[in-house]
Structure formats: C-alpha cells, structure tokens
C-alpha cells in the first residue's frame, strides 16, 4: 500500500533570509504556505506502479482457522487481484510467498487468478512455499526462490484418517491431479517428475515427499531462477517495459 496517513510535521516558523529578487518560485510557494497555512509543503509518498501481495502462513479456505494460525484469506486476496487488474496505474504485481500450505481450493483459486491477470507478475519464495504454496509460486509469469528458501511437495491426504473406501482414495487422487495439472502447465517440471518427488520415501523423516532448497527447485524446473528482492523487482520492471513495447509475456 502506498498511501500513508498524512502526518503533521511539527511546525517550525522559518524566515527567508534571501532577498525577494533571488527567491525562486518554489521558495515563494513555500513562503506562501508558511504565511497562509503555518506549515511547509509536506513531501507526499510517490505512488508505486508495482503492487505486492504476500501469501503468508496458512492459506485459509472455507473453514475459518483458530487464531493461533497466521492466515491468508482468499476473500481478501481475490478482490485485491481484481482491483490490480482494473487500476491503470498499477503495472505489475509481485507475489511474496512464505506459506506452509493450506486449503487446496482456495490456493488453486488464488493461483488461477494470478495466472489469468493480464499484467506482468513475478513471484518470490522466501522462507518456505510448501504444499499448496507450490501452485501459487508457479502461477506468475516468472518465479524466483531465495537460496535458503524451501518448498515441500507431498501427497494430499486427510491426516490421521485410514482410507477405508476406494471413493475416498479416488477423491484425494482427483484433488492431487488438479494440483499436478496446474503445476506442470505453469512450470518446466513434468507430471512424472512431480509425482516422483511427491511420493519420494527417503527425504522426509515421518512422511513421504521431497523438500527442495533454493536451487533444487530451479534444477527440477519448478521455479525459474534463484534470486532475491532485487532480481525479482528487476525482472518485473523488465516485463513491464516489454509489455509497454508490445511484447507479450
């Protein structure tokens, strides 16, 4: 958010010592402001053409989570994405991820919204982008991961539930397919490889799946590049100028 609440500065009366002939126009304006309003011009924050959305904690879906969870709520993110698409002053979106996963439907909804945004988008995975954070990370036009950030890919399941009927297994499998389809469509990773990483048995202590640290995610084709804030913003600016020059991303 760029708009800050205006703060009144302590008013210090200043007297101009320069002669009237040498005062420039801006000084005159300042002088006028001091005389009429008793204060100098306040520098206003420059409006940014890039907006940022941080996807943090749990991605909250249809179930409101208890307050010990830090959550990203889809009912807030989705209208903001619409506003970003609508506002002609906003030219690009930077998505910052530090999430441990969450609701599959809400996560996929956010990912689809970011994917179909016509303005340039760049994502940056900081700390962690686990589980349902993965499709959100790959949904942007270009994705970055910091060297130390991790991404965990593991199967979707109902924790602690013994699957008794084939229908339950099929439902979980279908949910998983939705995620795999989205991720493989939006990154360089193949469905076979993603599935292999998902069901890897020698990586996690008490679970199956894979933890990828920084460049592993890039080598596996999930994320485009290892980088930080500087690289992500530079890439976003490049995409914005490309779009202005008529190059489609």
């Amino acid at each position: 958010m760029t708009l800050q609440r205006r703060q009144r500065m302590p008013q210090t009366p200043r007297r101009s010592r320069t002669s009237p002939q040498s005062t420039s126009l801006s000084q005159e304006n300042t002088l006028q402001n001091i005389q009429q309003l008793g204060q100098t011009n306040i520098p206003t924050a420059q409006e940014s053409n890039i907006h940022t959305i941080s996807i943090i904690g749990q991605i909250e879906g249809h179930l409101q989570l208890p307050p010990q969870n830090k959550t990203t709520k889809y009912e807030h993110i989705i209208p903001q994405l619409i506003a970003i698409e609508q506002n002609p002053k906003i030219e690009g979106l930077l998505v910052i991820l530090n999430t441990i996963g969450g609701d599959v439907e809400a996560g996929l909804a956010i990912a689809e919204m970011i994917d179909t945004l016509t303005k340039p988008t760049v994502s940056l995975v900081l700390g962690g982008g686990h589980s349902i954070g993965v499709p959100i990370a790959v949904s942007t036009d270009y994705s970055f991961i910091t060297e130390t950030a991790t991404m965990t890919i593991h199967p979707i399941r109902l924790s602690g539930l013994v699957i008794g009927v084939p229908q339950t297994y099929e439902y979980l499998d279908k949910m998983q397919e939705r995620v795999i389809k989205f991720v493989t469509k939006h990154s360089r990773i193949s469905a076979e490889k993603f599935r292999r990483l998902m069901f890897c048995t020698d990586q996690l202590a008490r679970d199956i799946g894979t933890v990828m640290v920084g460049k592993d995610a890039v080598e596996d084709g999930l994320i485009d590049e290892v980088g930080g804030l500087g690289q992500a913003l530079a890439k976003l600016r490049e995409l914005i100028s490309n779009r202005k020059n008529g190059v489609l991303h």
């Binding site: 958010m1 708009l3 800050q4 807030h76 209208p79 903001q80 506003a83 506002n87 609701d103 686990h130």
Partner: protein
C-alpha cells in the same frame, strides 16, 4: 481440504472454543464485518463491497481499528 506441512492437530487446535463475535456495520459508507472491541472501537475483519478499489483502500484493510462513532480511523 487442507494440504499443509503443519500437523492438522496444531492447525485446528482450539477450533471448538474459537467463537469470535462479528458484527456488520456501515462505516464511511462501506459495509464492514467487524469484531467489536472496547469503547466503540472495532477491528475490521472483512470488507463487503463490489468496488474492487475498496480492497486497496488502506483505511479499510482487515486488522485496522476503527471508531464506530466518529467515522474516523483510530
């Protein structure tokens, strides 16, 4: 359906006792879902609007504390 690396019993701990009291109010001509606090103050939980720009308004962000009586942010 949750897909997360965090154990589900940690995520859902206290779900039974979690009963927040929310109220719908009209504030600065916006309909907001708020959690009333002490002394006419309330915390914004959700904005109910069809204008997308309301969702980028810094005064209407969830978590902001508002004064229900004066139509001004606290």
């Amino acid at each position: 359906m949750l897909w997360t690396i965090m154990p589900l019993n940690t995520v859902l701990a206290g779900l039974d006792s979690f009963k927040p009291q929310y109220k719908e109010v009209r504030w600065q001509n916006n309909i907001l879902l708020v959690e009333p606090l002490e002394m006419n103050k309330a915390k914004i939980i959700r904005i109910i609007s069809t204008n997308p720009f309301d969702y980028l308004n810094p005064h209407l962000q969830p978590g902001e504390i508002i004064n229900l009586k004066s139509d001004q942010p606290v």
